[in-house]
């Protein structure tokens, strides 16, 4: 590597592509990514940590963060369990319509989240295709269940995609060996397949969680956006900003941003470690 680089220098002399190219990339990144993120933190601490803390400790803010975490958690559990099931069935069996199912499952990635939320409303809403047959007290739209439903709709393809790709590239002879040794399907799955999927499960879960906790487009339609009842953290940020309470919005934004950093760093740095374990 270094030999190749120095050889290039020898041939061409000073290479302007490196400093200029690098400078351009950094100049682009600065206003696009780094400065906006930095501004949250700069603004959040500009009027002192005390007021930041007070804004964060407002009951509605805490509720919104909690609601986001809880709904994202249930969506994650659902995605991992059913993502595993779907990926297992779709990678281990061949049947008519297999590709159609895979495409359908992956479709929500391409659908705008606002459309997804709207579609859920049309189906489950009080006057929706199914919702109209559901009694008043069992309506799920504008409840936390609607948020979970929207989260699952939007994030399931992420978990499924990660798990499916690992299932498909897995060495099938491991499972075959286990079967010839005398293991039942379940024993093979538990002792052989699942351990190989550990990294993919963690990745799929974290991706789901990170995506779900920031979900805005679909939740704003299906949740009702009631402060202290169905308002998630991103909705809280939006609402407070609309009300002109920038400090309140910013406090929650800082927490969400830190949270995303944590998950992202974990995915980036700790995955190899989990895989190797």
């Amino acid at each position: 590597m270094s030999a190749a680089l120095s050889a290039m220098k020898h041939v061409r002399g000073f290479d302007p592509a490196k400093p200029f190219g690098l400078g351009l990339v950094i100049l682009l990144m600065l206003p696009l990514v780094l400065l906006p993120l930095a501004s949250i933190f700069i603004f959040g601490t500009s009027s002192g940590l005390r007021s930041f803390w007070a804004a964060l400790m407002a009951p509605d803010a805490i509720f919104a963060l909690k609601l986001s975490v809880v709904t994202s958690f249930y969506a994650t559990v659902f995605n991992v369990v059913f993502g595993l099931l779907a990926a297992y069935v779709l990678s281990r069996y061949t049947f008519f319509g297999r590709t159609a199912i895979i495409v359908t499952i992956s479709l929500p990635t391409a659908i705008p989240t606002a459309v997804a939320g709207f579609a859920l409303l049309l189906l489950w809403g009080k006057y929706g295709m199914i919702g109209q047959y559901v009694s008043e007290e069992h309506q799920i739209m504008f409840t936390p269940y609607a948020i979970i439903l929207a989260n699952i709709f939007v994030t399931f393809p992420l978990a499924f995609g990660v798990l499916m790709s690992v299932f498909e590239t897995m060495d099938k002879s491991l499972e075959e060996a286990s079967a010839t040794i005398g293991a039942t399907r379940w024993q093979t799955f538990w002792h052989v397949t699942l351990p190989s999927l550990r990294g993919a499960i963690v990745t799929g879960a974290l991706l789901t969680f990170a995506r779900a906790i920031g979900e805005f487009g679909s939740t704003i339609l299906v949740s009702g956006n009631l402060a202290g009842s169905t308002q998630t953290a991103p909705l809280y940020i939006f609402a407070k900003f609309n009300e002109g309470q920038v400090e309140a919005a910013n406090a929650v934004a800082v927490v969400l941003a830190l949270f995303s950093f944590a998950i992202f760093s974990f995915l980036f740095f700790a995955r190899d470690w989990i895989e190797a374990k």
Binding site: S173, E176, T180, G182, Q187, H191
Partner: protein, 408 residues
């Protein structure tokens, strides 16, 4: 010619007619409309090692997977110890596979891998520990017990794979290209080790390989497969010395092939010369087109024209090339077979190129062991007389499938 000369080796005697430990009959299989197996039947005797030998795409892996229960045949049955297991799931067959990749469980240690079969059968911890202990001793891996498969060499991984299957006392062992992933020197050592191990544990084994040397060394018997057909099955001596088809003759070792016609008096006419073929020729009707097949090492060369008594004179020729190949010397001798002028309208037997004085005739390959090469040294350009110590006369079809009614 040859049957009387078959050496009475212990291997031959052992494989004479053992009771079948496993057998397949009439196996056929297609994948997406492509026939990969066509009516394949054979037995594996008790304690016998059978090698399925074939090029890639010959269907040998499919046979192994069908026996293991990982693939269903379109037609045919699989029997293990007399029990029809064709519809039995893999896990109830009690067959052990050693995969080419070994398929060791990457997150289990060596002893966990070996103990897996007992663990899923819910055997008590003590019994498991003792069994694993003795198996690790058997395959000389006691020191490596706590390691993960990725920390072992290829040969060690293979021994773990073998121990892992032996733990549940399989009724049969299947080896899928067991030495394919190893380098040449280790390969030779390992197959001797496995051969010795199999003798100890007396479990019937089926090997799959495309390596003829491996097949000859590992197998009590060899089954040669080509394009889903069983070409020939027999002891290594039978298959090597008495190939039944041209494909078998050329796939297992080197062979010279000369096109000929059966002539009166049990002779085979090869262009200008006729060879006394005895019983070999008696199997064909007169005028039938045949191929004379002989191994390079079965050719005797004489400068004086004096030939050994038990050697069938073939023809004269000119030494054209001479190579020293280590253990033996390889000669290319051009036989004077087409000195005869073709009859009017008859196509020439062989293409004659632009340099007739040199290119006339057919080249054959002759190998001579060191002592013989040293006793009568030969130079390029010298004229010699050739005779055959043994040979086969085969129908002029390369494959078994083209002979009978099963022509495609």
């Amino acid at each position: 010619m040859l049957p009387e000369k078959l050496p009475e080796d212990s291997d031959t005697a052992r494989a004479a007619s053992p009771p079948a430990a496993a057998s397949v009959s009439g196996l056929s299989k297609s994948f997406k409309g492509v026939r990969v197996l066509e009516d394949v039947s054979f037995d594996v005797g008790e304690g016998e090692a059978l090698v399925l030998l074939g090029a890639s795409g010959s269907g040998k892996t499919t046979i192994l997977r069908i026996i293991a229960g990982l693939e269903l045949p379109d037609a045919g049955r699989v029997f293990i110890h007399g029990r029809d297991v064709t519809d039995t799931p893999a896990r109830e067959r009690g067959v052990g596979i050693i995969f080419q990749s070994y398929a060791l469980f990457p997150r289990m240690t060596v002893e966990e891998n070996v103990g897996y079969g007992l663990r899923i059968r819910g055997r008590p911890r003590r019994e498991r520990r003792e069994k694993v202990e003795s198996l690790l001793e058997l395959v000389h891996l006691t020191d490596q017990r706590k390691k993960l498969p990725s920390q072992l060499s290829g040969g060690q991984q293979q021994r773990v794979a073998i121990a892992r299957t032996l733990a549940y006392e399989p009724q049969m062992l299947l080896f899928d290209e067991p030495f394919g992933a190893l380098d040449a020197q280790i390969r030779v050592r390992l197959r001797r080790e496995i051969r010795a191990l199999l003798r100890d544990i007396n479990v019937p084994a089926l090997f799959i390989t495309h390596d003829q040397e491996e097949a000859l060394e590992l197998g009590d018997r060899i089954a040669v497969l080509h394009a889903g057909h069983l070409e020939q099955i027999g002891t290594p001596e039978e298959v090597y010395n008495r190939p039944e088809t041209e494909y078998v003759a050329t796939f297992l070792g080197a062979a010279n092939l000369l096109l000929g016609v059966v002539a009166p008096g049990r002779r085979v006419e090869l262009g200008a010369v006729a060879l006394e073929a005895g019983a070999e020729a008696a199997r064909f009707r007169e005028g039938q087109s045949v191929k004379l097949v002989f191994r390079p090492e079965d050719v005797r060369v004489s400068k004086s024209g004096e030939l050994p008594a038990d050697c069938n004179p073939l023809a004269n020729g000119v030494v054209e090339e001479k190579h020293f190949v280590g253990a033996y010397e390889r000669l290319s001798v051009r036989l004077d077979l087409v000195a005869r002028a073709p009859r009017p309208g008859e196509p020439p037997l062989y293409e004659i190129s632009e340099a007739p004085e040199r290119r006339l005739g057919v080249p054959v390959i002759v190998t001579r062991a060191k002592p013989e090469a040293a006793a009568t040294p030969l130079r390029v350009g010298e004229r010699v007389t050739l005779c055959l110590a043994s040979f086969r006369v085969l129908p002029n079809f390369p494959l078994a499938s083209e002979r009978g009614g099963r022509v495609h």
